[in-house]
């Protein structure tokens, strides 16, 4: 009995380096995935993928920023977000038929209260009320809304009905995607 107790830990010690060698690649991949996910990886799940967007296509992949990196991206415009406990963001550009661009920005704040805070600061007057999202407004060439801890801003290139239709379509899908997030 005494011998067994002494031997058992020794066997584990002996096997550990071999175990590490064997699975080191797996650990590296796991670690890399964890870093990737922590940097707005989850936000990508919110992006609209619905084919009902029709001729609206994404241009390149999404751009992800975290914390103070936002300052590098939108300069002085970042400070108001940092003051409202900004965590991370995802920017995706789309292009409509004819080349008009649509810019989707999803900002994850620390809480729904923070998202509402930044929405309240950013929203303008006289927008049309969006019937989805916790609160949202549609303006002539852009819309803003929040859902949970996410503040969403979508901007079109001009003020046409076609642009506004795409804005609301993307906004609705983003909100739907947020709702089904675990």
């Amino acid at each position: 009995m005494k011998t067994y107790l002494l031997k058992y830990p020794r066997r584990i010690d002996q096997q550990l380096p071999h175990f590490l060698k064997r699975f080191s690649f797996f650990f590296i991949v796991l670690f890399a995935c964890a870093i990737g996910n922590s940097k707005a990886g989850g936000l990508s799940e919110i992006l609209p993928v619905d084919p009902t967007l029709g001729d609206v296509k994404p241009v390149g992949g999404p751009q992800k920023v975290e914390g103070k990196e936002l300052f590098e991206l939108i300069n002085g415009g970042a400070v108001i977000f940092l003051q409202h406990n900004f965590k991370r963001a995802l920017f995706q550009e789309y292009v409509m038929q004819g080349g008009k661009s649509i810019n989707l920005e999803i900002y994850q704040m620390a809480s729904a209260r923070d998202a509402k805070g930044i929405y309240t600061v950013k929203k303008g007057k006289d927008g049309a009320i969006l019937v989805f999202g916790q609160e949202g407004l549609l303006f002539d060439y852009y819309c803003m809304l929040y859902q949970g801890p996410y503040f969403i801003s979508i901007t079109g290139a001009d003020s046409t009905d076609a642009v506004r239709k795409v804005l609301t379509s993307i906004a609705r899908q983003v909100v739907d995607n947020i709702k089904i997030m675990p």
């Binding site: 300069n75 400070v79 108001i80 940092l82 003051q83 080349g99 661009s101 303008g124 002539d140 852009y142």
Partner: protein, 316 residues
Amino acid sequence: MKKIDRRQFIKTGIRAGAAIGSLAVLPQLFANELSSDAGVSDIAIVNGADYFNNTHEAIRQLGGIEKFISNGDKVGLLANSVYKKPGAYTRPDIVLAVAHLCLEAGASQVYCLKNESEKYWRRSPLFDTHQKLISQLKEDNTDHRMVDIPHGKVLKEAKVLGGFLEYDKVINIPIVKNHGEIRMTCTLKNTMGVSAFSTNVQFHTGPNVITGAVKALIDNYHDKEYLAQCIADLNLVRKFDLCVVDATEFITTNGPSGPGNLSRLNKVVAGTDRVAVDAFCCRYLSLKPEKELMIKKSYENKLGEINLKKLNIREI
């Protein structure tokens, strides 16, 4: 009826002419700071939707591009082109118009200090027809360099683009628009486009914090006075030879990045005095120049004139 001789007729005619002439001049004497009398303007404003030609006209009103650019000059253009939402960036048409004039005046090279991409030029309706001009524009490949600002009140040194220091002539081409913290951005604020990110962060965080620390950034950002003084001090590094402001369509809320409420005025404003040009453009954002810290501090740094009544301003 009393007869009048020829001499009397001429005298009466001259008096009548002078009276009619003075009636025509009087409204101009009493008309605010805007005038339309002959001569070279200090600030010129051109209205209309043809932004390319209106930019040419605005510069012509200042005395023509030859007044600013000499044969063989290397010219650096500083446009506010980093944002992509409507009303948040200088229209490419205006930048192209300035570049076109510089090359016509004999500039050997025209450099884009912000290295505008093809994506930026594509936003112009002139993209297809002005391919040759776009291909003539050079990227600025100079590194940032530390310069002393001996007369700066809070900013004693700054890291700025080498090209900004080296090129024979530099032209500031901002868009006037709302700025969330300092209320407006125009020529003075656009100068931050030549300074390094680390220098610009310091403007926001103050001199005694670790650059890039988020908490410090948030805690210190409310110091608008410091930010305004930094901008005024940075502008001491070099005077722009010419300023051309895009006031065609710009955001009046949610600046600098937007999206926000758009004001569409279809104006191009040109001048050489940064303080005066910014002071003039205040009206487009319903601001008073004497209440804007950045403009006041730049005036105190002797960068230009804040009193628009001293200037010849022409709007056409």
